[in-house]
């Protein structure tokens, strides 16, 4: 069963509603005991990096998550800041991240020198260009998702980039390292495109 990690951040009920519409069973984990049996994991997130890390620590689910993802190799999908905390660290905060993917999180203005005047946050609906190989984006025609962020996930290895988005320059809007997936946009708030992506994750 897919388990939604409820560490106090993010649209748990929005995910529940979408999976209910799709007739796909999910459950919500509020503590390590409820998380333990997860076959697939969704790590949602809205907010700032340090806020998300401290909430996750405080939830008591951090060790269990590490074990499920790193030892038991359960597929996981991180959303927005839930994706960003999978990196080693972020320019947005001081706390270390989960370090599941070799990556840093950086401010979008730092990506290109000519971007210093970029309007931030990157807010609204934008196109997502997936790499051909991925099933996460299957059956999604002209993928378009809702973004709301000022920082982006920069993997050390380009191999981990699953999809790109252009906001005065390309950045990784979706990443993958084996069974670990992350998307910068909000599939739970992206109408039919988001629903299909969440369906795809359930079928991976």
């Amino acid at each position: 069963m897919i388990v939604l990690v409820n560490y106090g951040l993010g649209n748990i009920r929005a995910f529940e509603n979408i999976y209910k519409r799709l007739n796909i069973p999910v459950c919500v984990a509020n503590n390590a005991a409820e998380l333990m049996g997860a076959e697939k994991i969704i790590l949602p997130g809205v907010g700032a990096f340090d806020g998300a890390m401290s909430m996750l620590q405080a939830s008591g689910m951090r060790e269990c998550l590490d074990d499920l993802v790193l030892n038991k190799m359960r597929p996981v999908l991180g959303i927005c800041v839930g994706m960003q905390i999978m990196a080693r660290r972020s320019d947005e905060g001081d706390m270390p991240g989960l370090g599941w993917i070799q990556a840093n999180v950086q401010r979008l203005t730092d990506k290109y020198a000519f971007n210093k005047n970029l309007i931030l946050p990157h807010m609204g609906w934008n196109d997502v260009y997936p790499a051909n190989k991925t099933n996460l984006f299957k059956n999604i025609e002209t993928p378009c998702f809702y973004f709301l962020h000022s920082y982006y996930f920069a993997p050390d290895d380009d191999e981990n980039v699953l999809a790109k988005t252009d906001y005065n320059g390309d950045f990784a809007s979706a990443v993958q390292a084996g069974h670990i997936f992350g998307v910068q946009f909000h599939p739970e708030k992206s109408h039919k495109w988001g629903m299909q992506l969440l369906k795809n994750f359930s079928e991976l």
Partner: protein, 272 residues
């Protein structure tokens, strides 16, 4: 390509959906959850829900209603009304609300913007400016408490301050144009738009898709917010929710490309 956002704004009073004209004459138009369901089907870009009781009566936001709305929305949600502390902002974000808007409290105590941004990130902090022309010189002035209290604050100065303190978006609301449906207050929008480099949304006065299209042509990436236009139709102002379909939206934003502040300056230059 990033697209401009076309955003319905729903006003809530006593748990029911209402519509106002120049911030007055609230008229019951339905149940907010039903409206959200219809907007889900219409594929709206974002939704703003403003509780017009909360600020005016100094009461806590209705967290139960907010949580229900957030769960129902398959599009991003911005909540406004009665938000006075960083703790409240954090709580509302924890329900899965993407953005929390502050107005009166942020004008009275601007540090609130910084405190809230530190808790939930800049991207989730919206500062709403309710603006009305006042005095013999018809200067723009910020108002609070549903347009009842003038503050003597200049909107451009306050927008800059809000940006510096960490606001992620400014929502400019023209009280003079509210519910009148004769077009946006472009003079006001020009002034604010050209003074900050965070996203801007505007509300007050949209009466047709042409008004929205003109706004997008003029500014490019902007949030075009409308209340009356999306919930009323026809000369009898009957209740009917309408919203442009995907094709109309594509057509309306066809000319728009990603923008930097430089592009904005260029646009401003062209206008000037």
């Amino acid at each position: 390509m990033l697209r401009p956002r076309i955003i319905p704004c729903l006003l809530v009073k006593n748990g029911g959906l209402v519509k106002t004209v120049r911030f007055c004459q609230p008229k019951y138009v339905g149940d907010p959850i039903n409206a959200v369901r219809i907007f889900n089907e219409k594929g709206v870009d974002e939704l703003i829900v403003a509780d017009i009781d909360a600020t005016a009566h100094g009461i806590e936001p209705n967290y139960k209603v907010i949580a229900n709305l957030a769960a129902e929305c398959r599009m991003p949600l911005c909540y406004a009304g009665g938000v006075r502390s960083a703790e409240q902002v954090e709580r509302i974000v924890s329900f899965g609300v993407e953005k929390v808007a502050m107005s009166s409290a942020a004008i009275e105590r601007p540090e609130l913007i910084a405190e809230a941004a530190k808790r939930v990130g800049n991207q989730s902090i919206v500062v709403v400016m309710d603006v009305k022309k006042t005095g013999l010189l018809r200067r723009y002035d910020l108002f609070t408490h549903n347009g009842n209290r003038p503050t003597g604050c200049n909107p451009v100065e306050f927008a800059k301050k809000a940006e510096a303190l960490g606001a992620g978006e400014i929502l400019v609301n023209s009280i003079d144009h509210d519910g009148v449906m004769k077009g946006y207050d472009l003079d006001l929008i020009d002034q604010v738009y050209n003074s900050v480099s965070i996203p801007i949304s505007v509300v007050g006065g949209a009466g047709s898709l042409v008004d929205i299209e003109n706004l997008i042509k003029r500014y490019g990436i902007i949030g075009a917010v409308a209340g009356s236009f999306f919930v009323f139709k026809g000369k009898y102002r009957a209740v009917l929710i309408n919203y442009p379909d995907a094709e109309q939206k594509e057509r309306m934003s066809a000319e728009v490309r990603n923008q930097s502040t430089e592009d904005r300056d260029k646009r401003a230059g062209k206008r000037g």
